[in-house]
Symmetry: C2
Subunit: 151 residues, 2 copies
């Protein structure tokens, strides 16, 4: 059943915060016997327009995407020291699973629906071809919901 | 591509540790607009034969399974106070995403392959119709691998 709020019934991404992405990529690739993916870095503020808790932040993160499981993608994330949901998670919880990502259409409308359940935007930004929105759902359901919308 | 060690390329389950499962189930159901699943409790030692770090443990956990996403199941887990991977995770990391589960055949052989990469069994036990094995993969890849084998 397609979720009424999200408009999808598929978890597309599992996001994991790590301290040292080079080391984590190495271990992951070794354990699952897969090639090491490229490590990329999120765009600078001028392009990403990253907003964290309603304020602009220069925060960036190193990312690596593992596509070796067919039903869901695993993303490793190494935050920099600037304020972000990634850095906050690392400082509060340590390394570990950070978010579940959903591919959506109409982020604005979805956010309005989530607000009715007391869930607000934690962080929002752009990537080439789309926009991501992290919700502050952790306190209620113990994981962060990420809305991914491609244009 | 089917993973050489696991023999599967599908993540079947995302496991989340919570302090209060009744409250988390309530919030989850509200947020995703789904019916509340039954909360069950893992079997007593005599049936589950739970082994944690190589020793028997009376540990049990309350569980709730959300099947509202079509590609992966979400499991909420509230540990009791006895020694277990669930309790250890809660005490060390707090609430949050604990494991990714894979449906496998031949746990013993898979474990031997993981051992070659320095990964051992953290906890193992039985449920009606099958057996689960948590691996101590957290330090290396920042999530716990769970092998689920149904008989």
């Amino acid at each position: 059943m397609v979720n009424d709020i999200l408009g999808t019934d598929v978890v597309v991404q599992i996001g994991i915060i790590v301290r040292n992405i080079e080391k984590a990529v190495e271990e992951y690739s070794k354990i699952f016997g897969v090639e090491k993916p490229e490590i990329i870095i999120t765009d600078v503020y001028e392009k990403a327009k990253t907003q964290y808790k309603g304020n602009p932040t220069p925060a960036r993160a190193k990312l690596a995407f593992f596509k070796n499981f067919k039903n869901v993608e695993i993303e490793l994330i190494e935050p920099d020291d600037n304020p972000s949901t990634w850095r906050e998670f690392l400082d509060t919880h340590g390394e570990g699973l950070h978010h579940l990502g959903f591919l959506v259409k109409g982020t604005q409308k979805i956010m309005e629906d989530f607000k009715k359940n007391g869930i607000e935007i934690a962080q929002q930004g752009y990537y080439t071809g789309g926009m991501y929105t992290y919700l502050d759902s952790f306190e209620k359901i113990k994981f962060i919901i990420e809305l991914l919308e491609n244009f």
